[in-house]
Amino acid sequence: MTDKKPGSVLGAGSAEDRSPNETAGSPSSAGGTGGDGRSAPQPTAPAATKGGGLRLDVRLTGLFAVLVLLCVVGYLTRPDAFLTEGNLSTILRLAAAIGVVSVGMTFVITTAGIDLSVGSMVALASVWMTTVATQSYGVGVMVLCALLVGLGAGLVNGILIAYGRVVPFIATLAMMVAARGLAERISGRQTQVIRDTAFLDFFRGSFLGVPVLVWMFLLVFAAGWVLLNRTTFGRRTFAVGGNPEAARLAGINVKRHVALVYGLAGLCCGIAAIMVAARTTSGASTNGLYYELDAIAAVVIGGTLLTGGRGSLLGTLIGVLIFTVLSNIFTLNNLETDIQNIAKGVIIVVAVLLQYRTMNHPRTT
């Protein structure tokens, strides 16, 4: 066959859209995929970026409906107690620390990472800021200490992951174990009570009738939202999570950015440590137990993909509130713990299923 066709000779003429790994690229969705006679389930593509940034995603409507529904249940079962100012402020103050941690977690998961060490970082930062030595320098140093410890631990995660190439799950698992051990070591496993009254007065106080902790939460949330949706840092976060190779070839320093994102998550843990310390008037190595699970659950329920590239802080906020309101309602209604757990499991599933049904497309993640 010596006859050559013009143009076809060097092969590779029109390889349209060829990327064999495309589907494999979003594998964590394996479970939800396929078999339903539709290929490649599409996220709600066209509607997704209406407004250009504030993603008024249909999914959030569904999620929000779940939250409202819960509140209605809360009100109907305890009309006298649920909607009182005291109860709402209790809910928000409880949501505050885990909410702040979840803000950082949203960034991490958006880069397709995971951070199992958040709870331990909260413990470590809370312990370090409440040692007798730190307390002796007063409130300013205590706050700074918590922030720096959180940031530092987060950066260690980030550097291990970005530059040491340890997978996020393993690197943060190691930090999870080690930071908790260090917290125990530093505190001698003793709960360290805060004596600094300036600290307690400020962080346990209120401003304009709203607890300072709630203000802090709102502030961190707003700052996180702006950072994710209105800055180049946020853009890079989406890019790095969506397609690290494309981000790299567009000139983004992927490694540095990944390291920074874990640092940010650590910083959030530092802030949360301050909040927990204020709430409990102490630092303890047992603080922040299971925060990783709670935070990841809130983020994932909120619609951020574990496979990266998509993240919604608004969803995270609603996710955190759903879980907090849920346990509040349980308490108000005097449910036994074992029943609570069963109910919680069922409600999580129902919420997610409901969320799917309220929209047209089949899957969130």
Binding site: T280, T286, S327
Partner: protein, 331 residues
């Protein structure tokens, strides 16, 4: 198979409610004004803690004038604070609180007291007496001391001057574990002994078995072993049996019925257990009711409920086990 499965769910024997501890003497037993008691405790994630919650519930049920409101058990102090706040908001008359961490819940205890709600603090103690009206609990340090003294005494009797002593502690990050270990070490030291092998389990059967299995490999021969918690003790004993070891004596902690059975049988390595009985929680409910009704303790001269009651960590051995069965708990 479905039929078989559904048949196996019912488990009456295991769900037998704990007996009530004496329901007050004299006219204290008479129904009084309605009292709503709010109850908050850590997660009932091991037998002892489950027994505490169960005692509270069944004691409350024994009084027709008591309404009992319990919250989800949690090991997160922030969460427990929120739950207690919810109870305060809800306007309960008296609070019974077993804090996951006494120091961390002091502020909220005080908050309740300030709001005029008397607080009965059980077991793990608050940092400040201002945070509770009455505290009832065991003495963790003395529990360790009593275990240590008993073991030292046995060693002396057996004529062992340099015994190999091991310790299976509970959750190591809890202050109470520290206190127990400290008491144990101090008591042994007074006899010139020391702990040579120590592991920490998590109050669960499985962790007890795991840690003890490893411990027994580390110590090829032992003379005595103290296990902090009888619930994890089931696992500790399983590990000892698995390893086929019986050259040492074992002392338990807290006082479960299961351990008492074994002590009584005399065939087991368990020779004693130092009490830390969850029955204190039943007493706490009784105290809370009386506080709510502004009554005192019947047998006492004082008009008021005392500010603190420490239960005694008696050493239960085959000699006296019969006397203590009533405070033994089903682990």
């Amino acid at each position: 198979a479905g039929v078989v499965l559904s048949a196996c769910t019912s488990n009456d024997a295991a769900q037998e409610a704990p007996r009530n501890v004496s329901v007050g003497a004299g006219d204290n037993a008479e129904p009084g004004p309605e009292v709503t008691i709010g109850f908050s405790a850590p997660a009932a994630d091991h037998g002892w803690m489950a027994a505490m919650t169960a005692y509270a519930r069944s004691q409350a049920e024994a009084f027709e004038d008591v309404t009992f409101t319990a919250t989800e058990g949690t090991n997160d102090s922030s969460q427990q604070i929120a739950q207690i706040e919810t109870l305060i908001n809800d306007g309960v008359d008296v609070l019974v609180i077993l804090p996951h961490d006494g120091a961390q819940l002091t502020a909220v205890g005080q908050q309740a007291m300030d709001a005029g709600i008397p607080v009965v603090n059980v077991d793990r103690v608050f940092d400040s007496p201002l945070a509770y009206r009455c505290w009832i609990g065991g003495d963790n340090y003395r529990m360790g001391v009593n275990a240590g003294d008993y073991i030292a005494e046995q060693m002396r009797e057996q004529g062992k001057d340099d015994p190999v002593i091991a310790e299976v502690a509970g959750i190591d990050s809890l202050p109470l574990t520290q206190e127990r270990s400290q008491g144990f070490a101090d008591a042994l030291a007074r006899h010139g002994f020391e702990v040579s092998h120590r592991v920490a389990a998590e109050f669960t059967v499985e962790s007890g078995e795991r840690q003890t299995s490893n411990l027994l490999q580390s110590a090829s021969s032992l003379d005595a072993l103290w296990n902090h918690d009888d619930d994890q003790g089931i696992g500790v004993l399983a590990a000892i049996e698995n390893a086929g070891r019986d050259e040492f004596i074992m002392v338990g902690g807290a006082g479960s019925l299961d351990m008492m059975d074994r002590i009584e049988s005399g065939e087991s390595v368990v020779k004693a257990t130092v009490l830390y009985s969850p029955s204190m929680c039943a007493s706490a409910i009784s105290l809370a009711r009386l506080l709510g009704q502004a009554k005192g303790l019947g047998d006492m001269a004082e008009h008021e409920i005392p500010a603190s009651i420490t239960t005694y960590s008696a050493v239960v051995t085959s000699d006296n086990v019969a006397e203590y069965r009533d405070v033994g708990f089903a682990s």
